[in-house]
Each structure stands twice: as C-alpha cells, then as structure tokens.
C-alpha cells in the first residue's frame, strides 16, 4: 500500500435536512429501504451536481447523535402516477430519515476553499417530491494527521486514491460491497467498496463517533 502523506485538511460542514432518502440499491419490491449511512457516491454526486463540477472532489459524511426526534426513520406511502397512461401504479412504501442532523467533511482544495459558507443542495432519492433538500453550514476546518482504528460509518470505493485522501492505511476487517461509478452520463460500472462496519485504520472523520473517541 502507498505511504500516506503527512495529512489532509477537510472543510467541516453541518448538514441539516427535513427529510433524506438514501435509497438502498434494492429493487423488485414495493418497499424502498433507506440506508443508515452515507454513500460516497451519493454525497460526491450531489456536491458535483450542485457546483457543476467535472473535476473530482472528495467528501465523506456521518450522522450525528441527537435527541429522540433526530435522524428518525419514517415510512411514507406513496402512489406514483403513470402520466403516460393516466393510471396510478401500485403504492410504494418509502423509508426515509426525518429531522436529519449530520456532518460533512469536504477535502480542502484550491476549488472547494472558495465554496460558500452556507448553501443548499439536493441529495438522495425522491428529490422531485421534495426529499433530500439539505442545508450545509460551514463550521470549521479539520486537519487530519494521524489515522485511528475504528469502524467505518460510510460506504466508499476501495481504490487507492480515495484511501489516500481519507488516510486509510490498513483495512483490518473489510465488509465489501459495490458502489456505482458513472463513466458517462448514460453508463457506469460498479466499483468494489468498503461498507459500514469495516474495521480500518483511517482518519477519525470516517469512523463511528463512539469508536473514534476510544
């Protein structure tokens, strides 16, 4: 594995949203479950779409513990309308998070350092129905120097360039899955990725807060 360079600085934002639907990649059912963690592809995709970027950016996010009404998992019954045929389809049940409180870490680069202190973007599924409208407020800059041992609380591609950015020196016990990476506006590939629960040596910002503090 390549040697990690001396450290990285991340722009630390607080993320708030009334609703957020991070749809699991499961089809064929009438219930659409919501992931309990952020996906790198969803987060970076939303940021790139918002700032209309073509160059790569790096970001990670995690949910924050809060009161009993924070990050609550809820279910919405939704009857999609087939406009072409003028018919209602079979109703879907969509799982989503309400009253979302999370934190986002964006790698500080010559470009991202000029991003506004407050901005809104749309993320996740059901955006056309008003889900995933997120407000991001800048908090501070976080300098990551020393990796720690802990459990991943995000899903991110298991590729060298991303490992380097997030200080992943070693994967002690991986939990693998696949994340979609677009290669053009109409195509893409699934990339082997580290999923939540993987035990890694990496920057604190990737790890569940409980473990990060230990």
């Amino acid at each position: 594995m390549k040697k990690i360079r001396s450290g990285h600085t991340f722009l630390h934002y607080e993320l708030m949203a009334e609703t957020l639907c991070l749809g699991e990649r499961l089809r064929g059912g009438l219930f659409r479950p919501c992931a309990r963690v952020f996906r790198y592809s969803t987060l970076v995709g939303a940021l790139k779409a918002h700032f209309e970027l073509s160059s790569p950016i790096q970001a990670t996010a995690r949910f924050l513990p809060g009161g009993p009404d924070t990050n609550r998992m809820e279910i919405l019954s939704f009857g999609p309308l087939d406009r072409g045929r003028g018919l209602s389809e079979v109703p879907l049940e969509i799982e989503y998070l309400s009253n979302v409180n999370a934190e986002v870490f964006i790698l500080k680069t010559g470009e991202t350092v000029h991003w506004p202190r407050r901005f809104s973007l749309s993320m996740g599924a059901m955006k056309s129905k008003g889900f995933g409208r997120c407000q991001l407020n800048f908090k501070d800059e976080v300098s990551c120097q020393t990796p720690a041992i802990g459990e991943l609380c995000v899903r991110l591609p298991d590729v060298e360039s991303i490992r380097e950015v997030f200080g992943i020196r070693n994967v002690l016990a991986p939990v693998y899955g696949y994340l979609f990476r677009p290669t053009s506006p109409t195509s893409g590939v699934y990339v082997k990725s580290l999923f939540e629960g993987s035990r890694v040596v990496g920057y604190d910002i990737l790890l569940t807060r409980r473990e990060a503090g230990q």
């Binding site: 499961l26 064929g28 219930f31 479950p33 799982e95 693998y176 893409g188 990339v191 082997k192």
Partner: protein
C-alpha cells in the same frame, strides 16, 4: 470416527467408579482418603481383575503406567496422543491441583442453571468387575455412552471444588475428537517416550490452528422465496462439516469452533465454505500446545476478520439484485420460465425476447395462459447472478408465509454470541469458585480461563433451549400460524400486535428455566430479536435488524420504533406494560408520533389529565429502559 480404531473417549472411564467405596482407595481411621483416587485403574492390573490388555481401550486408560505400556504397548504412540488430547480437552485453561483446595465435588455443577447433580458414581465392587468385563469386549464409545449415559452426564470431569463445572461426557467426547486431530503426530515420534510428563513435553511446541467461523450469506433476502438461502446454507455447511467431523469442537447455528492440525487444513476448510458462495467472519490463530494448556479459548482465537472469495474490482451493470456482489446475468423470472418444458416453444421464445413489463397475457397461446397467470402477477423482473438465480429456482416454498395475505407478523430470532458467552461463563465460574473452595490461589480469579468443555456443554444446552423455544411458540400460536425458517428463526402470524408480548413472555420463561443464572448478569450471550410488521413487508428490513442482535432483548416495529429491554427486568416490564390502560397507551403513542420530546414531557407532567394512568408506565423507566423503548412497547401493548 472409525478412521482410527483407537478411541481416546475412554481415557477417563474409571471416573464413573467410586474407588473409595469399592475399597481401592486407602483411607485414614476417619475414612478420609489418604491417596489419590486410582481412577486410571492402576490398582486393577493384577490378574484377579482380568483386564485384557490387548483390548485397545486399555492403552488409553493405562497411559500413566509406564510398566504396563512397556509390557503391552511398547511400540505404540496412541497413549501419548491420548495424553495430549486429554490435556487439551481439559485444558485451554487447565487449573493446577493446588490452585483450589476444599472437599471434592463429584457431581456436576451447571453454571447456567445453578443446579448440582448428586454423586452418580458406581459404588459396588461388582460394578467395577462388570465395567472391566465390558471394556475387555472392546465396545464402541456409543455403546459405553449409552450404557453409562446418566453417570457420564452427571459426573464432573474434575471433582476439585469449584471446578466441577463440566461433565465427564463433554470432556470425553472432546478428547476423542482431539485425539483424531492430533493423529498425524504419530509419524513424528522420533524417540520412545516413557512417561506422561515426557509425552506432554515432547509436543509442547507443536502448533495447532484454532478457528471460529461464522458463515454469512451475501444475499439480502427480500422476498419470501429467497428465504431458502437459510436452509441452503444450513445444508451446505452440514455437508462440508461432515468431512471435518473431528475438527469441529462446537457448532451452533452457522457458527463453528474448530481445531486443525495445520493452518493449511484450516484454510482448506474455509475455502470449501467460501467456494459455495458464502462469506465468513473468521477468527483464526496458530498456537503452540503448551500455550493452549494455559490460556482460555478467547485468547487462543485471533481477531475477527471478514472473509470472502476473490471479489473483482469492478462489475459491469446490471448488479445482481440478490447478493449485490456479482454481475446479474440472469433475468428472473423470465429465464426460469423460458426453460420450462411444459410451455410451448412459441411462449418460451416470446418470454425470452420480450421485456418483462411489456409481456401481455393476450399475446400468449391459450394453452399456456393458465400456467403463467401466477407468474405474470410479478410486477417487475430482477437481474440475478447465477448463484442467486439457482438458489431461488431451487427454493422450497414457505407455504404458510406465502398464504398469509394480510395482518401482522412477528419475526423472532435467537442468537448466541460467543465472546459474551465466554465473559458470562467466566463471571458465573468466579462466583461459584468463591462459594465452593476453602482456599483459592491468589490471582486465580483475576483472569480465569474459560475451558472448552464448558463452552461445549453450554452449547449442548443451548440447542435444547432452541428446541424448547420453537416447540413452545408452536404450542402457543398453533402450527398454522408459525413458519419455522431454521432453529433460530421463526415467523409468527399474529391476530393482534399485542400478542407479541406473549412471544416475549415465552422467551423469558424458557430463559428462566434453561439459563436462570444468566438472568442475573448484566451481559447477555443469548439474545432475542423481534421485528413486527404487516405480513407482506420485505424480509430484508427485518433481517437488517435481527442479523446480529446487540442487546439482550430487542424489538423493532416497522414504522413504529425500536425497544431495548434488559433481560433481568423483562418480567417486571411485561407485567407493568400488560396492565397499562390501552387508551392511555394510544394517546402517548400518538403524541410521540408528532414529537418524542413532547411525549416525554407529557409523561412526566403531574398536571396531565392521564397522570395517574401514566404512573404504571413511569415505573418502567427506572428498569433501565429508554423513553423510546417505552413508547415502542406502548405501541405493541396498544395494538
């Protein structure tokens, strides 16, 4: 079992005799023994006892008698391996004789029930003569275990006070398996060994591989028909384990604790499992015999690692909808139907070439319409990899679950956590030693190793616990209302959601009966997870919650919150919640739907109109439950 005719299981068979009672253990004037119990038959080597030394069993028994070994088994190494196996089976933490002092306890004390067996040993000289005559016939271990079953299950492996916590039966069976694992060592004996202690020293540096493997599947069972993956996994593992019968020391659910002579052998075993398409959580370690004798199983095992076959760095779309770990090159159900011989060639071609959502029943020949009607209700098709496609094609239908069209179901799962089990057994054992021994070596209890026969004994009782649990649920709800997926997982059709409380009650009752001492602990090795939803809710959402339960009793109501209940308070909590006013429960739940914080305020408000009725619920909070858990329980009790 019969690969090596020599059977180490017999090495301690003399422990079923009360040697003092038959007059072969010297005593003082007060009847107290003045010598060690001669349970290795060392006082039965004279002709009057008619021991037929040619019967191979006796070599295991007389392993500490150099003269007999020299006379009757001069070129055999079996007794050496029996000695090693005995140490290992008792060990993984054997405690020295002088560590605890007090009156011997020959009856087995069960740490998790707190029950002590009375001394079951045979006390007549004729019993001893019969035993010798029986062993001279060279019987199989099964025959012996059957004939002396009660004694073997009641006699403690060691009678030292506080250490009589595993049965002679568990120890003997383990020793037999370990002997066969160690059998390759026969060929490495390069010099004659004459004494028991030399035998142990000769192989102290020999390394063995200890493995704990939990077999997981990559599939995310979403539909009823995908639940066959549970049965398939069980069958696949059983098939593979049958080739490693002696290596497997303990098995429960899809978890296996095994010992291998070499790392290569262990790696082959893991590969055999992974090659079937499964994933594994693996703890593996190579460790010297001398270290194994002095440490507990938890230290012998390495750190947990996730293991899978080789995964490609990239996959082309579509991704398999089942496991999401492979390319989905099969279409479900189109490819299945296109292979059906009972359909016309025209229909099969039409299915193969038409996107699923464009299929129209009127485009099919009349003769095939009825055969396909059920399938055409599938509202979408799925891309599956070959493995998931095969699994789903071979699935045995879960007929009850499929027939339930509406109402509520509760999925119930019980799981055993090895790490917590080791901690729990240690806690119970420390308490027992303190209560039993007159004198204890300083520091002995600080980090008391948990011994392998203890874990094996617990797992045997855990299997009985599971059988009793499923039987009780079937009895309480009726055969037609329970779908059993495997020994640890049930789905129960409920008339009313409130019936979930009955499932909790059954769990509490059987825990109290089978593992009463576990109820007092603040850690829970046996965990119970319940997930409640409308009947057609996808299984994936239940499984996400139940797959690796982290609390003693956890409840999820889909769309209605979760609850965590401490096991030692379950009875009191069920009692309190069962007496709650349903109107008040309903009101509290409705408030919590808007805001849990508001509901918490209302519950604590003495001026509230329902303050009196809330008092029953408020009593639950000091039992160590969160407010969210309380609301979830209120939700259950109200339904």
């Amino acid at each position: 079992m019969t690969q090596f005719p020599f059977v180490a299981e017999f090495h301690d068979i003399g422990k079923i005799i009360d040697w003092k009672a038959v007059g072969l253990q010297a005593t003082d004037a007060n009847g107290n023994p003045v010598e060690k119990e001669p349970h290795d038959f060392e006082k039965c080597d004279s002709p009057e006892w008619a021991v037929q030394f040619r019967a191979p069993i006796w070599e295991a028994v007389f392993r500490r008698a150099p003269e007999i070994i020299g006379t009757h088994y001069p070129h055999s190494s079996n007794w050496v391996l029996v000695s090693l196996a005995d140490e290992l089976a008792a060990g993984l933490g054997r405690i020295r004789d002088e560590a605890v002092i007090g009156h011997p306890q020959f009856g087995y004390y069960c740490l998790w029930t707190g029950r002590t067996m009375s001394d079951p040993r045979l006390k007549e000289r004729t019993d001893l003569e019969e035993l010798i005559a029986f062993l001279n016939e060279n019987p199989s271990w099964e025959k012996v275990a059957q004939r002396y079953s009660k004694i073997l299950h009641s006699r403690a492996e060691t009678a030292r006070p506080g250490l009589n916590v595993s049965t002679l039966y568990s120890h003997s069976v383990l020793a037999g398996r370990l002997f066969r694992v160690l059998h390759p060592l026969r060929t490495t004996l390069d010099r004659p060994i004459s004494s028991y202690s030399d035998a142990l020293k000769a192989f102290a540096s020999q390394k063995l591989t200890v493995l704990f493997l939990s077999v997981l599947f990559p599939q995310r069972p979403f539909r009823t028909r995908d639940l066959s993956v549970f049965r398939q996994r069980h069958d696949d593992i059983s098939k593979i384990l049958s080739r490693y019968e002696d290596n497997v020391l303990v098995r429960y659910g899809e978890n296996t604790l095994a010992l291998f002579f070499s790392r290569e052998e262990a790696d082959t075993f893991i590969k055999d499992i992974l090659d079937q398409g499964y994933l594994g959580l693996v703890r593996i370690n190579e460790i010297k015999l001398k270290e194994m004798w002095s440490i507990g199983i938890e230290k012998a095992l390495g750190r947990e690692e996730w293991s899978s076959g080789t995964l490609p760095d990239q996959l082309k779309p579509p991704l398999c909808e089942g496991c999401q770990m492979d390319h989905g090159d099969r279409r479900w159900p189109a490819d299945l139907l296109a292979e059906r011989d009972d359909l016309s060639a025209q229909t099969r071609r039409y299915i193969r070439e038409t996107p699923w959502q464009s299929l129209r029943i009127e485009d099919l020949p009349q003769t095939d319409r009825a055969k396909l009607a059920e399938w055409l209700e599938e509202w979408d098709e799925e891309d599956l990899c070959s493995r998931c496609f095969e699994l789903r094609s071979q699935a045995e239908p879960l007929s009850k679950l499929a027939s339930w069209q509406d109402g509520t179901v509760a999925w119930a799962r019980i799981a055993l956590n090895l790490e917590t089990l080791v901690d729990a057994l240690r806690q119970l054992h420390v308490t027992y030693i303190k209560d039993s021994a007159k004198q204890i070596q300083p520091n002995l209890l600080d980090n008391l190793p948990v011994r392998l026969p203890l874990i094996a004994g617990f797992v045997d009782d855990y299997q009985l616990f599971l059988s009793r649990w499923s039987a009780r649920v079937l009895q309480a709800f009726g055969q037609d209302m329970v779908e059993q997926i495997n020994e640890e997982l049930l789905c129960v059709k409920l008339e009313r959601r409130r019936e979930t409380l009955r499932l909790l009650e059954i769990h509490r009752e059987i825990m109290a009966d089978c593992f009463p001492r576990m109820l007092d602990l603040d850690i829970a090795p046996v965990r119970f997870a319940l997930s409640v939803s409308p009947v057609k809710h996808p299984f994936f959402v239940h499984w996400r919650y139940m797959e690796r339960p982290v609390v003693a009793v956890g409840i999820q109501i889909i769309g209605g919150g979760t609850a965590e209940i401490p096991l030692n308070r379950l009875g009191a909590i069920l009692h309190a919640i069962g007496r709650g006013d349903r109107r008040v429960l309903h009101r509290l739940r409705q408030i919590a739907r808007t805001s849990r914080t508001l509901a918490e305020i209302v519950l604590g408000d003495r001026q509230d109109r329902d303050s009196k009725a809330f008092s029953q619920l408020k009593r639950i909070l000091p039992f160590g439950m969160s407010f969210e858990s309380l609301v979830t329980l209120a939700n259950l009790a109200e339904g």
